[in-house]
Amino acid sequence: MTTMTDPPKASFRLSMLLYDTRYRSITIQVIAMIALMLGALWLINNVRVNLALAGKPFEFGFLFESSGYEINQKLIEYSSQSTHLRAAAVGLLNTLLVATLGCIAATFLGVFVGVLRLSKNWVVSRLAAVYVETFRNVPLLLWISLSVVAYSHTLPEPREFRGDNPAATMSIFDSVAVTNRGVYAPEALFENSLGKASVLWDSLNIHLDWVAILSVLVSGLIVSSLIARRATNIQNATGVRPSTWHIRMAVVIIPPVIVALILGFHLGYPEMTRFSFKGGMLIRGSLIALWLALTLYTAAFIAEIVRAGIMAISKGQSEAAGALGIRPGKIMSLIVLPQAMRVIVPPLISQYLNLTKNSSLAVIAGYMDITSTLGGVTMNQTGRELESILLLMLCYLAISLSISSVMNFYNERTKLRER
């Protein structure tokens, strides 16, 4: 017969914090945390004290002073009388523009090259390999520099388009001029324009013409999808799918064309003036050169990701599809790629983030992104280094987190569901 007794209840002593293994790890963590926080506090305080000593208080008032400098590429209205904040916004939009264009182009090119690398054709797969290895093993900075120099030195100057017997001529029915300053293309103009509307406390002006055309286009697309759904219902009921493509096309295309005609749509062509072309739309050389370099560089990485993704799909899948008589192109696009996406998407996210962050090298191309406006001219003219850099970091952080949350959402949608 045994008596059960509780183990003696040890009263907590301070020394147990160090000698009792149950508490020791907690003690160490608490001390480490305190040390870390003190370190951070010291750094912050040091910055504050030194800034105060230098007579530069930490404040963001400079953002609301007029900037005094011009920006060449502006997606929203801006002049040298606008504020530094607006200059930063112009730069932010330019960053987003080149990042979006770059991500789209790099994805297409990367998938294309990735598939080519697996080609059974020796020349094609070797060429793809050479492309990948050259581009990803040379720093992006050099590619951007090369692309800028190549752009401004190989294409004709605007003045070569002048004269009776010009050295260079415009392409596509004399409407597009490809020069070393950029591509001058026709712009869309509206005779009976609806004008502009100010939104967001007059900070943005929106062309109502485009709003009208876009809204008609979107409603056309909605009607078209309703027609498609009806066709599916009929098919489910009767087994015969009615032919609807011509109706759907008409619903999407005709209304916007009618609206455009009512608004008096016509093209404004670039015309040669004393220095350069005037009128039309200018896609600047800096944007093209930067876009090209970012695309080619990132596509090399994406190609490898795509190749890895495709190789991760069991060979049995494509063999089974081949046994069913599906053609090789269809096997790739219908069987292999959709499954490979699950492997491809997560590393693809980080490539998109890289491309966006790499776009901060824009300054080499003379492209006015947010690093060049807020982190360049504004910082230099106002001398607010700390504030500008912190804001800049915040902007990139926000962009990167938005991209990764969107891509993670997509990844969640496409990932393998195990039941």
Binding site: N46, S79, R181, G376
Partner: protein, 338 residues
């Protein structure tokens, strides 16, 4: 508990150490080298020669200060800085002084916490265009594409000038002089704008300088001069009076060649005070008596420096103009050495 107290003490100690800064003069003497911020390469003003030795009008100021403080005109570490990075470099202590064609403005002096110690070149902003364009006035530049260095007063003046004249332009931002030259020559921009002295220097480096003209308009006042950090007045005084010594030396005819001779004593008390044979001016600055003599011997007096680097006998070929001594109708003037 004890650890926290210890860490707290460490924090306080670190704070005090972080806040206290030694004087720049002591730093320079302890280092045995002057860190001088210069342009990334502008022929005549600051550029390395074939042997990698920095030469130029601004470089001479650095050498004069090094000679005055350390007695050795070669005890200079030249730090090439772009227009964008120069102020941060100076403020963070990476360089002790800037001699980098920098315009003296109120906001830089007051808001950016710089201390301009004087003017060594009175300049103004101009435009250079290829002759073939047939432009004769800056007012004809409506619609032109203009290469401009970022982070400069040039950039702001340009926006002001075009707004005042109600004409438009397309800016092409460039990082440094070499890049703007390359862009301009490739035709990526119609016009190059910067200080007229720099335009002359850039043009002199072209293969065919005669194909390009500098337009007559001067759209701004650009007093260029050396500068130091705000807050260390003693160091500011040294750089200021070194520059003044070079100017006074020209006024009183002290040259690199005759400085030693005149230092034996002359009948002119001001020359004696500059060269340290009379009075205690060097001691007041915290330097030795021969400081100004060393500065003058480094690359000559103000006039000699001008002629050797950017004057009419050089490819840059600038005339003295506003940069002549006040006695010759220019603006260069030094307060008395007394």
């Amino acid at each position: 508990m004890k650890k926290t107290v210890f860490l707290g003490a460490l924090t306080v100690a670190g704070l005090v150490a972080g806040a206290a800064a030694a004087s720049t003069l002591d730093d320079v003497k302890a280092r045995g080298k002057l860190n001088c911020g210069v342009s990334t390469g502008l022929v005549g003003f600051a550029s390395p020669d074939a042997n990698g030795r920095w030469e130029g009008y601004d470089v001479a100021v650095c050498r004069a200060v090094a000679a005055a403080v350390l007695g050795d005109k070669d005890a200079v570490e030249f730090v090439p800085l772009s227009s964008k990075t120069r102020f941060t470099a100076l403020n963070s202590g990476e360089v002790d002084m800037l001699a980098r064609n920098t315009t003296w403005t109120l906001s830089r002096d007051v808001d950016l916490k710089m201390e301009f110690v004087g003017v060594n070149y009175y300049d103004g902003q101009g435009f250079m265009v290829p002759k073939s364009l047939g432009v004769t006035s800056a007012k004809d530049l409506d619609g032109a594409t203009i290469c401009v260095q970022v982070g400069t007063t040039t950039e702001l003046n340009l926006a002001d000038y075009f707004r005042a004249n109600n004409i438009s332009y397309e800016p092409v931002p460039v990082e440094n002089n070499a890049e703007s030259q390359q862009q301009y020559l490739s035709g990526a921009c119609d016009t190059l704008t910067t200080d007229r002295s720099a335009l002359a220097a850039t043009r002199a480096a072209f293969e065919k300088p005669d194909d390009h003209v500098v337009l007559p308009e001067i759209v701004s006042k650009e007093p260029l001069g050396p500068l130091v950090r705000h807050g260390d007045n003693a160091w500011g005084d040294i750089v200021r009076w070194t520059l003044n010594a070079l100017i006074s030396a020209e006024e009183f005819g002290i040259t690199a060649a005759n400085a030693d001779e005149l230092a034996k004593g002359t009948g002119n008390p001001e020359i004696n005070r500059i060269l340290g044979t009379e009075g205690t001016l060097g001691e007041m600055l915290g330097l030795d008596a021969g400081w100004a003599k060393a500065a003058i011997k480094a690359s000559g007096n103000f006039g000699e420096i001008f002629e050797a680097n950017v004057g009419e006998s050089t490819p840059i070929g600038l005339s003295r103009g506003l940069n002549a001594l006040w006695t010759d109708g220019g603006l260069i003037y030094s307060p008395p050495f007394r």
